[in-house]
Symmetry: C2
Subunit: 654 residues, 2 copies
């Protein structure tokens, strides 16, 4: 009945054609507002032409005496001219109208009042005389009528998004009211029996409903008026009734699907029943199951109402807002569609992309020296934090199967470039102290972004100039010294400072109460024990493999050895969920998820910082914080942590 | 008693020290909000840590059958495996929890249901069997618990200005409330007996009060809560009473001075009476008479309240907001102070600057080819339109006396660079059709900015690569042809297309009823007639001088010949105000200000467009609009205009 997964431009064209057909492809209506500060950010529906000039009369630009310039001719330091106040010189305040007979103002500072004995007979104060010692030219110290605004000129065009100074100019040219585009009313109906409102306790299988929150906030920030409705369960009739009810008053209905196929089908069936489906499925990743339609069949409805069926996954939902809702609201407000700054950046790693789709890839942007790099974030449509962390988005168009590391991409920025310029990019092994550091450093005009690729991955990235510093905890079994050997190996010839961060306990993370009575690495070979591992290149993995070697335990003796996670917390989460019985990690991760911890080793987690960055202004606040007792105490409170070396230069290499 | 005009950094330091002393140099307070879309743009007062993981259980990532991966071992296209539904394969919707016994999901598309005859005996539908032809690996098509968020991790730091996706992430991690910085309450008290509210009829000497509007809108847009009070006349007691009343509840008082010295002094005296003045006068242009103080003497007041005395001129007032109010509000909200994007640009003309001041110069930015240019706008503190038109601001620090044309400056941008990239920069002679064009083109994703430097000035600027096109109406007396001769002279060797714009009537603009009975240029020599001229290089000036030459009238025979204005409207304004009795200009300018017009000549106003720009994407919409009948009709309605040549290529040069 309808096509699935049509290309994005075609979907846009179909929807736009239907909107044009329904006369819904322009400003929805005009609202008259008093000229007050609440009008800020509203969009002018009509141009503003000046009703009066500003100044609307010739105005004194200084406090002083208005004169006829000719009367001052010949005045010189050696040849003062005297003027009778009230007749030839009239006192004016700044802003006062110039008397008709005058064409210049002498500032009060340039005037000498006559001493009492010099004043002519009569009232010595009024009328009295002033003395000047310089002639003035006509129109000096006068703001002539129309200096700022001449009546009839264009002050602001229609479509202007009003800023504070615009309001001032509108007032200055004699206007007292504003005609702005009325705010489009956007109804948001979340559907899905599995959904529960935010803030409630949740059970397995219950999903917190927040797509309506994100989209309502988007609509609000784009100048629309969101109307958020309560969750409707997966029931055809209930959804149909709610949609036909809200379509009567809303300008746009956003029907938010649950995640299941059943729920998605309800949306399409409801739109079909109440109107027309133009598009169902767009070749966009993430975001495929978008529905674009028009509600126009109900007899209760006096006008057609466009409807967008929004997919259930949060990243898909938010991108549907950006791709379809924002341009429509801009059109309805008569303003230019929002555009993001675009920069070029180099990909830090290879990515693959489905060739049939426009692929919206979220990236973190870092400026490392002169190079701007884009590090791809998690691709999953369910990972809302990938949008929170994203500095921008790059679109891999249909037909592109992937891009190699180092290729240049165009990135649309979510954050201003200035903010990116003060971002410190940490790569390598993850430690919880980095989260606390990120929190502390945000108070010092810096932003800390970390990518977890393991200790060795971090050193490799550092060599490629892809980060400012790397967190690393790599034990050299020969020497028992941490990190130095590996930095020499992976960063030959690079001047690096190795800065102390934390000493921490490594051990086995097990469920609370340690039900399987795991005591040491030997237990990993037991039939009833499933292990969860860290990825290759992680310091913890190096540590594990070193000790397994000493114990002569082969990887294939351990169930779950090939199940790799990328952070300590992910390992702990795997244990907490029952996916695994134990994993090697740090005490703090066990504590965070309320698990037990069997302490096995001590290790040093340190920061490798190339000399160039070490001495940069960017990193200065970071190095200060590491020496800040308040910060050190916050870290020392984490279970199994000690901070005796924090902020100290442990080694200087090359 | 207090210093006048201290440097800006010193003023800041004094004010900050007083705020620190009063414990007013941090977040003012915390407000708890429900997690709803209105929280967008609020600032987090505390970091958000994840309360629960997301997903908070292992969730099916597809609609399909949950299985134990081991049960699928050996399944191949040629060797299908059958699984009993309800026992070995459990149907799950996307988002459903994975049953405890399962560790993978087979998508419904990859499953073959058994035909009826293949089903074992019993109820053929439930339990029934499915057939698969590929093994699955553990955890495939599963969103493991914590894939997005792991309980206990940092989601957002304090100070985060909340965006729509942030609200989603906060909901996803189990939070239902938000703790944000409370909005600072900012009272705005306009003072001055000459002030009248916007929208009222005004008489000479009355000034429309809009500084409180602009500053209230600024405060609002910076996250504060503005409280706008009615105008208080210049009366010490009234101002004192109002200030002490509002100081009880406001976090900050903005006392907006009138323009006169008297009014300014009231502000300082009131602050002195109610507290302390730390700074009165800052070496900043425009903006000198800023007052920074603290209200703390009144017994009715439970807390000290900072006060800023804001100068009366609108540009000074708006800049005082940017320089002092915005950073203070940022501090009180616990967020980073706002920063504008900075770019480098070349000055289009020489500027002088008072060496004792930090000089805030408003500029228009144009990108002409690869070059970014900054054209200085009107310098007057009273010219609010200079802020409306400004694309950015460049600060000439104390000690700099001026800069030459072509020098590079740092410009803080008010508009995003993308907006500047679609700006068409018109220079040269001004015509009212350009205002209408600016209005029409704003609907086509372009912005038109014009600088009026006269026809010859425009051609010179075009040669220097400082604009995309120039408006010109320069008569060659030898040939009677417009513009061609001059373009050859001023743009030798440059390929230029000359495009028709309007034919228009030039003549004498005189007051309504023509009280001095002026008929022709001969009347300009009369003793009782004062003329207003256009600047040298203006086409109208060339026209005048040509005809004066033919009539053998010398410039010094004409009173007012040296009084130069830069636009037709400015000439009309000079006549309207009585500053002059007549001026040469176009009929439309006379009509705009309700003046009479004595038609003398016909002339052609055309657009000179270098070939490079003519064929650029940037100018495409402009050339389309010139051929648009709707636009042509709008222009033809202007008095004295005809549009027969509009949009046609009149000449192609070189």
């Amino acid at each position: 009945m309808y096509l699935r997964d049509i290309p994005l431009p075609e979907a846009r064209t179909r929807f736009e054609a239907a909107l044009v057909e329904a006369s819904l492809w322009g400003v929805l209506g005009v609202e008259e507002l008093p000229l007050d500060y609440q009008a800020c950010s509203r969009v002018l529906a009509e141009p503003v032409w000046a009703k009066i000039s500003s100044p609307h009369y010739h105005a004194a630009a200084m406090d002083g005496f208005a004169v006829q310039a000719g009367d001052t001719d010949g005045a010189m330091p050696t040849n003062p001219v005297k003027l009778l106040v009230g007749k030839k010189a009239i006192y004016v305040d700044t802003g006062s109208p110039l008397p008709e007979t005058c064409n210049a103002v002498i500032p009060v500072e340039s005037v000498e009042p006559l001493d009492e004995h010099e004043q002519p007979a009569g009232d010595v104060r009024f009328p009295y005389w002033i003395r000047i010692r310089a002639a003035v030219t006509p129109w000096s110290n006068v703001r002539p009528m129309g200096e700022d605004i001449v009546a009839s000129e264009l002050i602001l065009p229609a479509g202007q998004v009003l800023r504070p100074v615009d309001l001032g100019a509108i007032a200055a040219c004699g206007q007292g009211m504003l005609r702005v585009a009325r705010k489009p009313r956007v109804a948001l109906i979340p559907t899905g029996s599995e959904l529960v409102p935010a803030g409630r306790e949740v059970k397995a299988g219950e999903i917190i409903e927040y797509n309506s929150l994100v989209l309502a906030a988007q609509v609000h920030s784009w100048g629309g008026e969101p109307l958020r409705y309560p969750i409707v369960p997966d029931d055809f009739t209930s959804i149909l009734e709610k949609v036909s009810e809200v379509a009567r008053t809303a300008d746009l209905v956003l029907l938010l699907s649950g995640s299941s196929a059943g729920s998605r089908d309800f949306s399409a069936r409801v739109v079909e029943a109440l109107g027309e489906v133009y598009v169902h499925g767009i070749a966009v990743r993430p975001g495929h199951p978008v529905i674009l339609g028009m509600l126009n069949k109900s007899i209760h409805q006096s006008k057609p109402t466009p409807v967008i069926g929004v997919p259930g996954y949060p990243v898909s939902a938010a991108l549907t807002g950006e791709i379809f809702v924002e341009p429509l609201l801009s059109r309805w407000l008569g303003r230019e569609p929002g555009s993001k700054p675009v920069i070029k950046a180099r990909l830090t790693r290879k990515i693959t992309s489905p060739p049939g789709d426009d692929d919206y890839l979220r990236v973190v942007i870092g400026r490392i020296g002169q190079e701007i790099l884009a590090a791809p974030l998690a691709r999953g449509a369910g990972v809302i934090t990938s949008l929170v962390r994203a500095d921008g988005i790059t679109v891999l168009p249909r037909g592109v199967q992937g891009l190699a590391a180092g290729e240049e991409v165009q990135v649309q920025l979510y954050r201003p470039l200035e903010e990116i310029d003060r971002t410190i990019f940490v790569i390598g092994s993850h430690d919880m102290a980095l989260d606390v550091l990120a929190e502390h450093i945000s108070r010092r005009y810096r932003r800390l972004v970390s990518a977890n690729v393991g200790s060795i991955g971090g050193l490799v990235a550092l060599r490629r100039g892809e980060a400012h510093l790397a967190g690393t905890h790599l034990l050299d079994p020969e020497t028992g010294v941490y990190n130095v050997t590996y930095i020499r190996q992976y960063l030959p010839g690079v001047a690096v400072k190795l800065v102390g961060m934390v000493g921490r306990q490594q051990g086995l993370i097990v469920p609370r109460g340690n039900p399987k009575a795991i005591r040491s690495l030997d237990d990993l070979t037991r039939d009833d024990v499933i292990f969860v591992n860290r990825q290759r290149g992680a310091g913890t993995r190096v540590l594990l493999d070193y000790h397994l070697g000493k114990l002569s335990i082969a990887p294939d003796q351990i169930q779950g050895y090939t199940h790799e996670e990328f952070t300590h917390l992910a390992v702990a989460a795997a244990v907490a969920s029952g996916k695994a019985d134990c994993g090697l990690g740090i005490a703090a991760a066990a504590r965070a998820l309320d698990l037990d911890f069997i302490h096995l080793f001590e290790e040093r987690y340190e920061l490798a910082i190339p000399e160039d960055h070490f001495s940069s202004e960017l990193l200065e606040p970071l190095l200060q914080i590491l020496k800040d007792p308040e910060f050190q105490q916050a870290i020392a409170r984490l279970p199994g942590y000690e901070v005796s070396q924090m902020g100290k230069i442990v080694a200087e290499l090359n």
